[in-house]
Symmetry: C2
Subunit: 363 residues, 2 copies
């Protein structure tokens, strides 16, 4: 079942196509208007899925063969040095301002590829083909691109919308169970934002969601990406509303940073972040305990999380204000008020934040 | 005499202020709306002019002191590695999404600073304070930013307009004679595009233009930047018209690259590029010989140019099609038809290009 949603960006509208057979959407894309086509991907992923993708998308039938640029898997590729490597490869392959870049991969390749597309010769068109849950429901939509600088994630980046996003759940079948579940925390985040019926459907189906079970996944992924599309359509450049997508991420980033990005998958850190934000909202009496419990229960059902108990709270707290969404040093917290509603709150007392962290860590 | 021109960018309009006292324009800029202010500059330049600038702009009176980030002088700073260095400095200094970056310097700092501003936390506001002739009449206006990748100049960059450009001719008084004259080639380029009366005025005053003679410079700089503003206002993103600014640059870049960027200042290479484009236009019977001679005479009067005679023509010609403005491998030549009019021509036979190069080299 193919779902197509439209994102209205500042300059143009583009489709987000989800569902089995989604890769075929490229057949209706005006490939012939580009001088050449390049695919950016990561090595093992492309080895596993490249030929399927080329066949499904009809790229293997194209007038001029798509050239492939492969980068190593892993966060290390999301770096300025890799931008140089990829740009150099594109140049060597003859990419010019009218070339198209197809970005085939997870969050790392998606963010890197989007950044390269936005800056190569001051910007070329690109297509996002996300291959992870987070990519499919969140990061590939909306045009946020970034690379890391030193220890600071996403310090350098752009807002640069893709021309098309195609999310094919089939590709998720090769994810490890852990990687798959990590992405589900972001699905839960979207369900908290959207509320019922999505939240309720997720409560019902969560235990049956498996990487191989792509049929059952389809409607959940479609609902989750619809949340993202809705938010982006109302706030492309994060002037305000888009901040709600940061739910669970303020603490999430701190947990990742406190552990040198080695302990948690991103979604797992967001899982802890969702739990902490929920407790913080309860402490501030924004959120009723039964609603808080409903949220926390769904988060915990996703799967086991690597521990945070051993992290020195002072260290975690110190890492908070460097969050990019801070303005003038103040953290703007995104906190649930109930399932389906969040609130942005500044001036949250540090002692409340610390207490919320303690409650979650001690469990 | 202060001239203010307005550039209408896609998202907002901004002023380009030229003339003696121009730095004071910052006093009317809404500095108080920013969370913090940073100045990016290069070491010797800031040492010479920093205190004057801070006083003139009233930045030394500001509520919060502007922090300074200094990079080494020279093209080497226009690199991805330096983007990381500057971004890290900004982060350490507490720059957030609402910070303002003032970019105080020549082409290198201008391009680097614009790129950093466009990508730091996905984009912060910036002000251009160009301190070279080329910067003041050309590169600081229009929002083109870039860094080099390997041997490829400006391979990575963005279109990202500044919030204000202030061009104070006083700062040109510390330029070397050679650096100053190098910039005059770009002024001549603009005069070729604009035609009379500007071209004629430049013919009259050229010999009296000196770095220290800022009063006489003022009207020439104002006329030259008006050409750039006019073109940018009609074509911000280089869809077509803006290409005319590339006059002299297709060959210019090849001359620079063929000599490893060590022999020519950028404007000098453009000087040779203007001469070659003029001869090429004559060969193609686009340009009458007397008009061609009028252009060539003005270019030659700017000053002595480092030789190109020893450059192997095959090497120079081979470097041409990598020009960024090429689409599908074809060079789009910008060629003068007369003083005040240029034409964009594709499909120029290589032998004509080679012959034009030979004519100019042999002189």
């Amino acid at each position: 079942m193919i779902h197509t949603l439209q994102v209205t960006s500042e300059k143009f509208a583009y489709d987000v196509v989800t569902g089995r057979g989604g890769w075929r959407a490229l057949r209706r894309f005006p490939l012939a208007t580009y001088s050449s086509v390049f695919v950016l991907s990561e090595k093992p992923l492309w080895k596993r899925w490249g030929s399927t993708y080329l066949r499904e998308s009809d790229l293997d039938q194209a007038r001029t063969q798509a050239r492939t640029v492969l980068v190593p898997s892993g966060e290390g590729s999301k770096a300025m040095g890799m931008v140089e490597v990829v740009a150099t490869q594109l140049l060597k392959g003859g990419a010019d301002r009218r070339s198209l870049l197809i970005v085939f991969g997870g969050g790392v390749v998606g963010d890197l590829g989007g950044f390269v597309a936005s800056t190569y010769m001051r910007g070329i068109d690109y297509v996002q083909v996300p291959t992870t849950v987070v990519g499919q429901v969140d990061s590939a939509v909306g045009g946020k691109t970034a690379v890391n600088v030193g220890a600071m994630k996403n310090l350098v980046g752009t807002f640069y919308p893709p021309r098309l996003v195609v999310a094919e759940p089939l590709v998720l079948s090769s994810l490890s169970g852990r990687a798959f579940r990590s992405g589900l925390y972001e699905v839960v985040k979207h369900a908290i934002l959207a509320g019922d019926p999505f939240f309720g459907q997720l409560e019902k189906s969560l235990d049956s969601l498996h990487p191989q079970n792509t049929r059952l996944l389809e409607p959940m992924l479609a609902s989750a990406v619809a949340v993202k599309v809705g938010v982006v359509n109302r706030d492309e450049r994060e002037a305000g509303l888009r901040l709600v997508l940061n739910l669970g991420h303020t603490f999430g980033h701190a947990f990742e940073e406190a552990t040198g990005y080695s302990r948690f998958l991103h979604g797992e850190a967001v899982g802890w972040g969702l739990l902490t934000a929920t407790r913080l909202a309860e402490r501030l009496r924004l959120l009723a305990p039964d609603e808080g419990e409903r949220i926390a229960r769904l988060v915990r059902r996703v799967g086991p999380l690597p521990p945070i108990r051993d992290l020195p709270p002072a260290k975690v707290l110190k890492l908070l204000p460097q969050d990019k969404k801070a303005i003038g040093g103040k953290i703007r917290w995104v906190l649930p008020e109930r399932v389906g509603k969040v609130k942005v709150v500044a001036d949250v007392p540090v002692k409340e934040v610390a207490a919320a962290l303690k409650t979650v860590s001690d469990k």
